[in-house]
């Protein structure tokens, strides 16, 4: 016996370019300069090249842990492009491209992958946390970073990334709910790439969209075509600026797909998805779509892209050399980073492991 409706919610879906690069939503085309548009393409090309190179290095045993990113370029690049340098990113393990374009040196990202402590030593002036391995843990921390900005009256935004699987964690709701309750400048960016390792999106939740999970926390939730870099930029820009202006957090679900395996540690996607599914998604490819759009505007040429590819390869090669040259870690060195001042117990252990004492 329903007597009245007390609340009603809608989840918008945003697309600017269709699969062929045609503008389907002229009102939402971001006001980016030609240079910015070219830059977006260049960054997506870089990301694709980096991914191919990283996968090859990984197969050769020259990288450690690596989670491929191809297919997700628009989500990653478009969202980071809408942030400012002083905004603070709290990424997951797959979000290496965003970190790189936020200023994290590439050779350190290689070191992170290889398992070197220097990989996690965020340089001064780069505003981010190290990639998180525990699914969802960074999401509650993002609320803390947002609260710090709010308390200090800084016009900065905390941006945290997670995946479709991550939205099932309690921390995902806790983070959004804290940010909502305290009206914090935080953007929760979910890359729904359809799988959490092998588990498909439908098995994560009965909810029709992931974006609607924001509703329960009282914050706006938006779904965006995650293969459309202009749409991603548009929704992210709105969310980030809303947050910056004190209007509170937003959750964004970017609908995307990873072409490669979950990680390079033995995942075989043919065990959980068909070739047909993969091919359907490849038709939506973010690079092809945006290339067509740029070409139409006279902002793309084969030669330019070839030059970008060569530049990308060189950057990756140089970073690799720098990573190879990193000083070896030592056990006493690890002990030194446990506390600002070592406890007596650790001092003894340090001496022991430095071979300075028998016991």
């Amino acid at each position: 016996m329903l007597s009245q409706v007390v609340a009603r919610f809608e989840i918008p879906y945003v697309q600017v370019l269709d699969e062929n690069g045609n503008v389907v939503n002229p009102d939402l085309v971001p006001g980016l300069s030609d240079d910015d548009l070219r830059e977006l393409m260049k960054r997506m090309v870089f990301t694709r090249i980096w991914d191919q190179r990283a996968i090859r290095l990984s197969r050769q045993g020259r990288l450690g842990f690596y989670a491929p990113v191809s297919g997700q370029e628009a989500s990653m690049i478009g969202s980071e492009f809408a942030t400012k340098k002083e905004d603070f990113l709290l990424p997951g393990y797959r979000d290496i491209p965003q970190l790189y374009f936020h200023g994290y040196p590439l050779h350190q990202l290689f070191l992170y992958s290889r398992g070197h402590q220097l990989g996690g030593k965020v340089p001064e002036g780069v505003h981010c946390m190290v990639p998180q391995i525990i699914i969802g843990a960074q999401i509650v921390q993002a609320a803390g970073v947002g609260l710090a900005f709010k308390l200090r009256g800084e016009k900065r935004v905390a941006v945290t990334y997670t995946g479709d699987g991550g939205t099932s964690q309690g921390d995902f709701y806790e983070g959004m709910n804290f940010a909502g309750a305290m009206n914090l400048p935080v953007v929760f960016f979910v890359q729904n790439n359809q799988y959490a390792i092998s588990v498909p999106r439908e098995l994560q939740t009965r909810a029709q969209t992931l974006a609607q999970k924001a509703i329960a926390a009282g914050i706006p939730g938006v779904q965006v075509d995650g293969m459309d870099v202009l749409a991603v930029y548009h929704v992210m820009h709105e969310a980030v600026e809303r947050a910056r202006n004190g209007e509170g957090p937003t959750m964004i679900e970017a609908v995307t797909f990873r072409y490669g395996p979950h990680t390079m540690s033995g995942d075989d996607p043919t065990r959980y998805r068909t070739k047909d599914v993969q091919e359907e998604w490849e038709k939506k490819d973010p690079l092809i779509r945006f290339r067509k759009f740029l070409e139409e505007k006279g902002l793309w040429s084969e030669a330019e892209e070839q030059a970008d590819i060569e530049e990308a390869k060189e950057i990756v090669n140089n970073a690799l050399k720098e990573a190879d040259a990193a000083e070896k870690m030592t056990i006493p060195g690890l002990i030194d980073t446990m506390f600002e001042e070592l406890t007596p117990t650790l001092k003894r252990q340090r001496a022991e492991f430095a071979g300075e004492e028998a016991n």
Binding site: V122, M129, V140, D171, E174, L334, F339, T343
Partner: protein, 326 residues
Amino acid sequence: MAQMTMIQAITHALDLELARDERVLVFGEDVGKNGGVFRATEGLQQKYGPNRVFDTPLAESGIIGLANGLAIQGFRPVPEIQFFGFVFEAFDQIAGQLARTRYRTGGRYTAPVTIRSPFGGGVHTPEMHADSLEGLFVQTPGIKVVIPSTPYDAKGLLLSAIRDPDPVIFLEHMKLYRSFRQEVPEDDYTIPLGVANVVREGKHVTVIAYGAMVHVALKAAEQWSKEKGLEAEVIDLRTVNPIDIDTIVASIKKTNRAIVVQEAQRSAGAAAEIIAQINENAIYYLEAPVLRATPPDTVYPFGMIEDEWLPTPEYVLATLDKVMSL
């Protein structure tokens, strides 16, 4: 100087530190307007405003995650877990996140967070309120664990904890909150973390304890002296991670015998670690094995049998007699 209970000493320390360092933030469930369920934060929100002392939504992982984010941004958060039995909800944010922040980032970020939390048996709380879970964090690298046994120590240790550049878990035994008063100076003083306190001198057996068990051990020691004319030296550990093994060894060199009194279940906790370190550092001074006076390895008991389960002075006396007879 003023006579204070432990809870008053804690409130007083928080007050001093909120006034001294504007990076200090105090928050948790019910800590704002209500001043905490035990009134540990009584009056602090009125005094420092809701930006410094505030209520959070009811989610422990969220509370510690919030603290972690604030800490890497330069604040000194002092979050409260309403009862330490709820720490399991925040286990990753403490052991998986806070305690690793410095290590993970090669020292670029630190987590000067002090987690305050009531715990401890004998007050007939519902399940998951009284458990002694400090042992879990004795095995957690990168975090310190402090357990005061007196109002004076509570203030000095809490000020040290908040000023420490690394994360600290500060556990407040509920039974000690209001059980007695002590002279507590109004001015600023600290007690260094990781330094034990010899609270009773003696030459026959070293008794190592912390938290409420310090008082149980002291009671037993007095009775032992009266009945048997034997003198136990009682060490209040004050910090269980790291353990002040030097003070323990110095005492054992004198007594040649030791027992550990622990409120937590027997296996693999602080007592086990204390005994392992005694083994490494003082075994040739021992004339008998080190014994443990602890409850058995059961889940924390139901309220109606709690007092029987917790170590009593009689149990400690029996353990003293036993270690003397070996």
